[in-house]
Amino acid sequence: MVDIDISWIPDTFGSVTPVLPMVLVIIGALLMPGIHLLLKNKNVTCAASLAFVVVAAVFNILLLLGHYTGTYYDLFTYDAFSGLMILLFQAVAFIAILIAGPSSETTRMHVGAFFSLMLIATAGMSFVATASDLLLIFVGVEMVSIPSYAMVAMKKKDPRASEAAVKYIIIGGLSSGLTIYGISMLFGLTGTTNIADIAAALATQGYTAGLVIALATMIAGYGFKIAAAPFHMWAPDVYEGAATPVSLFLATGSKKMGLIVYIKVFFVMFVTIQAAQPFMTESIQYVFAILAAITMTVGNILAIVQGNVKRMLAYSSIAQAGYMLMALAILSDWALTGAIYYMFAHVFMKGGAFVVVAALITVGVGETLKDYRGLAKRAPLLSAIMLLCVFSLAGIPPLAGFTAKFFLFSSAIVPGLGDPISSQWIWLAFVAILNSAISLYYYAKIVKAMYIEKGESEEKIKVPAAFTVAAVLCVLGVIALGIFPEPFLYYCSQAAAAVMP
């Protein structure tokens, strides 16, 4: 839509341009411990990290608006899809770092390391978005996982954090093992780790037991990152145990990385195979459909009984991942567009909710539903933001969650759109609609506590400005994506078109 001349960027940076956003962030990550050692000030370190993210984001947005595409030594490809996903991770990093500064939960001892780890993880997620080789993706994912383990453990005075970290590491290690096992099987079958080549090879081979094992282990290995049921059990523990900015980072960022891997690996693979042999992929599409249906249902049902808001949001994240997984079953470019749109909507609505939770923990209000009683009188702005965010999560129009759900669900229902889909996914759409109805029950519990129930205290709450800024940014995103979907939808469909082989 917008056309700007960005030829000066490749002229200046040469072959590094495709990985420029990551390089900038990595430079930041390397400098952070030094900056903190010299200045000994958490806020300055936080601001410095933010600056690096913002500079990287500016470059990324310029590249995106300039429709730049480029390859870095056949390893990383920057295109409309990876650019948009990098933007998503930068947005997540921005919000997480912004609130990690003033949050009382984050560590005060290893400040430099903490921000450095977060930047490294951001760079890792961005690498995953640009990589087109299974091994590179694996390395990228590990580049996110290992800093995440450390960040979960880095929480002040809360034994829950160390327990969560231990669980996270063990299950994460298991998942990595499964993944690399699956990759090795695929390599054995096709003799390459490049996704496009694998797809081309598989299109002629048909299913073998080895391929099914490879698929099952890789679905599980990356399903761990997405927290898709039944690989989800770590998520509530870790989100609850970690400092809230880190929970935010994991729920909105790391989860999306898993989805991107699913899209890059499975989506591309199956669309290629489908083009060669139209009916061969149907069975594996059903596997994803079942996975999506189970994930959303388990997440929503378990969320109902939670009394801890952070844990409730964790289960709700699981359910949200279930919705996004629908795209893998439907396998059309419209479904993919909807899923990408949903990812952004999810960043803003879930991000906004976590920001409010973090703010309330920092000022000592607490994290259970009981603590939220009467909040509307004590913190009207935060309550209003929370209300909009959770209603958006529940899919109430005209907020982002509804619009995104509408895109995604309609892709399951409406036939045509250039793909040979028929009415076979209508059941999935109805499962999803029923699920969004169930989900309203527990979201309404949060709103009820804030707006309808009486609190013990009526004292006004004052939160650090950074929280308010982050929350307002998120809620603006929720409203804008809900009411004016058209401009952003354009970029999503561009991104989807870039992924489609």
Partner: protein, 684 residues
């Protein structure tokens, strides 16, 4: 020239919502004045739009509707969704009564909320948004936009019903009550909303569009599988059941009385519950594709009407009686739409023009009753608000004899009661008798026509009950000896409250006469004899002679008049003259029927049972599994001994081991499922 600005009608209150939200406390009457100005502006614009439309070329010989839209978003290679307006006869009538009544309610609210201080700001902001939701719903040009505004209204009703949950004027118990009522209203109507959303997707699947213009096109309807339309209309009707409190989702509305009385007036008269009836009326071209669907619609209406009326018979709470009466009257509207649609569906199949015309009369009766009901119900609720404001209780046993202290309130309430009871020449009389006549007529056609005979009997019995419980309410409140609360009452309410009452009572008496002067020409629907396109309005009215002749040569009209008078007389004997003791009929409140009515036919228990035993129970069970079998809690136990090595062992063998095994089982499950699917679907 004004029609192009129809989109401003909902936008104005939306802007005023933002203004009040931001600056409310600094403006006169805590934002009340601004809200009234917003409602006034919407009303004036509505009048201009309606006038221009009804005198314009589109309505006089044109296509019968005016529409315009901008693209909201389009799906590459697929369909386009729009934002825009769609004005036809139905829109006009809805716009007029919604904006006018809301305006009067807002004026009244200034008096009613004056002692609420700063909290009025929240109230006025929310009612402005509420009004924006309703007006937006009315002018929407497609189902998605309708759904968006539908949900905005649901959200506002949630906040408004819970308005008094912090500090209810009647104390803590009432506050808790407000809290749970708000949630119930939200969740129960949400059930309907899910159904609506399902219908929306089915329509999208069938038509590749959601614009009314495309959906109501007879060629498009003919091209779509009728079963899909039946499914879509059933789902849409599910939405209407939720919003308009029809059986079996009727139970949220009486509980919604926990909000301020003005909110009840808004919900019951001008907005919210009318949205469901509107949805059915709006979707008529789709609904009439199947006589069976319409039969179901009529039946639901009939059951709702009598069920709700029965529960009003022995209720002691003035607002709850009115709430039940609303449900019951909504039943009438749905009943008429069902009967009309049933006849139209059969008529279209047989090519019988007379039957189609009879169907159109049913549609007219339903919409007309909605129109009249808006006025008399607003009047009754605001009147009851005036009473509650004055005596500080909602229990009618503590009232009595208020007539002398509150002259204007009692007179206006009397007009409202006469109207709803169907006393001749009052507005309710005209529309109720037209409704019953349509239902009676529908019973003569089709193999299932006899069901409409049953519905008619339900309707007539309901008419008798209505007259009785309304006058029971009026006598208990205004006549008889002075009750405890009456002695402490503040007397008549301020003029911001009584003037709207007087204005409304003029309408409540007179709105029925409009049918004699051509209103029916606007609120009718008929398929064009050549193109088959559905046209709302664009007819000459049948005129006064037709209706007077039709009603007064019909023996059943006299039956309902007699029953209404009988109901009023019995109420008079029991609650004013005290010559008949009502306790005699219910064993002093011990009879089984009385108990059943008090327990609302056990509907609340049923809901609770379903939601607790079924919904929450499943969730609890799954959670138990999650916590105890998989042991997923973050208990911090291990952390307290971190570093001892012992804890790491515990973690590994206790919880995480289970997690890991679930992951492995998951891998195996994916493998097996994939294999099975591949085996059955081919590909191996």
């Amino acid at each position: 020239m004004f029609i192009e600005y129809t989109w401003l009608i909902p936008v104005i209150p939306l802007i005023f919502f933002v203004i009040i939200g931001l600056t409310g406390n600094k403006t006169p009457k805590e934002g009340g004045l601004i809200a009234v100005i917003g409602a006034l502006a919407s009303f004036v614009l509505s009048v201009l739009v309606v006038y221009e439309f009804l005198t314009g070329p589109a309505y006089n010989g044109g296509v019968g509707y005016a529409t315009d839209a901008v693209t909201w978003f389009s799906i590459p290679g697929g369909f386009t969704l729009t934002l825009g307006y769609y004005v036809d006869g139905l829109t006009c009538v809805m716009l007029m009564f919604s904006s006018l009544i809301s305006l009067l309610i807002f004026i009244y609210s200034i008096g009613y909320m004056h002692d609420q201080g700063k909290r009025s700001r929240r109230y006025f902001a929310e009612v402005s948004l509420f009004l924006a939701g309703m007006l937006g719903l009315i002018i929407s040009n497609n189902y998605l936009m309708t759904f968006v505004f539908w949900e905005i209204m649901g959200l506002c009703s949630y906040l408004l019903i819970g308005f008094w949950s912090f500090r209810h004027p009647e104390g803590d118990a009432a506050s808790d009550n407000a809290a749970s009522a708000a949630k119930k209203a939200f969740i129960v109507t949400r059930l309907g909303d899910v159904s609506f959303m399902g219908g929306l997707f089915v329509l999208l699947y069938a038509f590749q569009s959601l614009d009314y213009v495309n959906l109501f096109d007879p060629a498009a309807i003919a091209a779509v599988d009728t079963n899909l339309i039946v499914l879509a209309t059933l789902l849409l009707f599910g939405g209407a059941i939720g919003k308009s409190a029809q059986f079996p989702l009727q139970d949220w509305l009486p509980d919604a009385m926990a909000g301020p009385t003005t909110v009840s007036a808004l919900i019951h008269a001008a907005t919210m519950v009318k949205a469901g009836v509107y949805l059915v009326a709006r979707s008529y071209p789709l609904f009439v594709q199947s006589a069976d669907v319409m039969l179901l619609v009529g039946l639901i209406g009939g059951i709702t009407a009598i069920l709700a009326a029965s529960m009003a018979l022995n209720n002691m709470n003035i607002k709850k009686v009115l709430a039940y009466s609303t449900i019951s009257q909504l039943g009438y509207m749905i009943m008429a739409l069902g009967a009309g649609g049933y006849m139209m569906a059969i008529g279209m199949k047989e090519g019988n023009a007379a039957l189609i015309a009879a169907g159109a009369a049913g549609y007219t009766a339903g919409v007309f009753h909605m129109f009249n009901h808006a006025f008399f119900k607003a009047l009754l609720f605001l009147g009851s608000g005036s009473v509650i404001h004055s005596c500080g209780t909602e229990d009618m046993r503590e009232m009595g004899g208020l007539g002398k202290k509150m002259k204007w309130t009692s007179i206006t309430m009397l007009i409202g009661s006469l109207s709803i009871a169907g006393f001749p020449f009052f507005s309710g009389f005209w529309s109720k008798d037209l409704v019953l006549e349509s239902v009676m007529k529908a019973s003569e056609y089709g193999p299932e026509g006899y069901i409409f005979m049953i519905i008619w009997i339900l309707g007539v019995v309901t008419a008798f009950m209505t007259a009785f419980y309304m006058f029971r309410m009026w006598y208990m409140t205004f006549a008889g000896p002075e009750g405890h609360a009456t002695e402490h009452s503040h007397g008549e309410s301020p003029s911001t409250m009584t003037v709207p009452l007087m204005l409304l009572s003029i309408f409540a008496f007179g709105s029925g006469f409009l049918i004699l002067f051509g209103l029916d020409g606007i609120i009718t629907i008929s398929p064009d004899s050549i193109t088959g396109a559905f046209i709302v309005g664009m007819h000459e009215g049948h005129g006064a002679v037709h209706y007077i002749e039709e009603l007064f040569t019909n023996p059943y009209t006299y039956l309902t008049i007699v029953l209404a008078l009988l109901g009023i007389y019995i109420a008079y004997l029991m609650y004013s003259k005290f010559s008949v003791n009502p306790g005699k009929f219910n064993k002093e409140g011990e009879s089984r029927l009385y108990k059943a009515l008090e327990k609302r036919w056990w509907f609340p228990q049923l809901y609770n049972w379903i939601s607790w035993k079924f919904g929450y129970g499943i969730a609890k069970g799954v959670d138990y599994f999650d916590r105890n079998v998989i042991d997923g809690t973050v208990n911090g136990l291990s952390g307290s001994v971190v570093g001892s090595g012992e804890s790491a062992k515990y973690v590994q063998t206790g919880n995480v081991g289970n997690y890991a095994s679930i992951v492995m089982i998951g891998v195996a499950a994916v493998f097996v499922v994939a294999l099975v699917l591949i085996y059955y679907m081919g590909g191996m």
